[in-house]
Symmetry: D3
Subunit: 132 residues, 6 copies
């Protein structure tokens, strides 16, 4: 992989995002994801912007649940980095070992029933069709 761009080596737009990450998360630690995508500064600022809007901003889904949803997607897609980073974030927000085990149970079972519904070509029940 490209070498991470460390804080001390950062300048301009990258430095500004790094400072915002530190201030928002109240820690000097910046994880590799940001330090690698910093090689393309417009990705760094765009994704950080999206992450703040979706994951950081207080909203109708609590922070721990958000992390569990993130992990569910990351496991389904086999993103080892994201499982590790959002696993750490979830534990920092209170995820217990019991909840982690249950989360993977749900992810596993959903992946199974998804394929059963697809393979058996199950038609959507009239009762489930709806307009907003």
């Amino acid at each position: 992989m490209p070498k991470p761009i460390e804080y001390e080596a950062s300048t301009g737009e990258v430095r500004a995002v790094y400072d915002d990450i530190r201030a928002t998360r109240k820690t000097d630690f910046i994880n590799n994801f940001w330090k690698v995508i910093a090689h393309h500064p417009s990705t760094l600022s765009r994704i950080w912007d999206s992450l703040k809007r979706v994951m950081v901003r207080p909203s109708s889904i609590d922070p721990l649940t958000k992390e569990m949803i993130y992990i569910a997607v990351s496991v389904t897609n086999n993103c080892q980095y994201c499982i590790a980073s959002h696993g750490a974030a979830a534990r920092a927000k209170g995820l217990t070992d019991e909840q982690f085990g249950e989360l993977l149970d749900i992810v596993g079972l959903a992946n199974e029933t998804n394929r059963l519904a697809i393979g058996w070509q199950v038609e959507v029940d009239e009762a489930f069709r709806q307009d907003a």
Copy 2:
């Protein structure tokens, strides 16, 4: 798709599972998923058994969150049936339109950052490595 096996036409192991679905969910309605996989009775009983253990049994993750995790996987895998059925289940458990929108936001963003982490080949931070 194979025609759903209606309750009235069911016998033996299939009927027993149908009765348990009705009793567990406190409704006569049985959705197409079960009525189609009933063509292979051992699938029907195995999956219903798993679903009860994972989704119905009270546990450390609340029922609405479980449904949101199920939807996150189903959207990532593009299972239209599962999005419809678990979307209905989630709404029945209190999912609001606002929460649904946020859920899809998280699923969308996770799918994006998964590929950025993969494409940039980001190495897992030492701080995220852990043993149980």
Copy 3:
């Protein structure tokens, strides 16, 4: 979708492949897949060539098993067309309803345990590592 190119309207390279499909399969029926990719004749001839080498040529895996493997992939990828076409091919080669149900059971369970192995980040056992 682009309109299928019918046999009667075909010429040149497309007609030659159509004739080979008919001769190889001993039927006049040509399914839509071929009649649609015929809009790009080099795709038609390349894929038909690959299919003959992989699926038609007698080999160490019997024809019905080959179709079951094809269906397993198609269900995992959610390709409705391929499930339908290879489902028909498998039935023509003797796939029973019981076997179809079992096939989907295996596909479903493998999709589940794949995610459990990924989510739990299980390390490959020394005993499973091997060189050819």
Copy 4:
């Protein structure tokens, strides 16, 4: 990953499943998958239960074909652990190098034609539509 729970350290439900795995497989070897998901005992017992019903129970699909189907899904999903473990299981059941090469050929080609059918938006032939 969480450290595998070794047989000697296991108790209760975990020990009972371990004993059943050993008895069923007629070997003392228990692979990492089980020893890691053992951190969540209800996953261990549920999945072992499913695996016995789907993969171990004599049925209409022979054991080697079952393993090939498992590998086809695991390769499509990029589960390195599952490719390694079910690859070993398949070889133990008689999979030859020639068959392994053919299996990957089919998996590769199916992944290609799945996307061609999807990208060209091929409509399912009337002849392939069917009711059970």
Copy 5:
């Protein structure tokens, strides 16, 4: 699906984004994607913002190539809507039938060789390892 929110019915943040879409694309036509995600206005503005930065802003990859990349991903993920919408966008930017056929050829072949590399567990060549 939720009913699209038409331009005439839009207000506030949604109306502002709709106006920007119209002005940016120099057409009154707004496709369903935007009119449906408008049910969650923060998704609408966030995604439109990202799309402008990634797809609309003049950059080092030409507009037609961008659309082909978008289609490659959409076909791999089986997103019918995205294949249709970005297919239309690509044709508007000059994509020929010949190029469309070639694009699907590449997408198909890459999906095949991806699985061959994964299934054969090919190790990355020293010559391909690199730091930025």
Copy 6:
């Protein structure tokens, strides 16, 4: 993984393909992908044949764009080998760091909007439906 079959150890059909790879690419270097699938010679010759027709043959899409499309698929499927090998091929054909960053931006965003379109169940606009 199976040990790569080196050029010096190759014979017959494998040697013939190796020679063609060297002649076509004007280099003695043969990357691991070919040297591993060479364990199944009919895969080697079939895939090399396809690759020449799709990727090497001059056509309506330029060579660098072809590589970008290949990378887009490989990132979406999480094929580390293919990202590395086609990344190297793309750089050899002139891909700049800026273009690589943009490419991943498009891949990331497409993966996100694919799931939004799927999750919101957006219906294809009449304007996007078309016949060839």
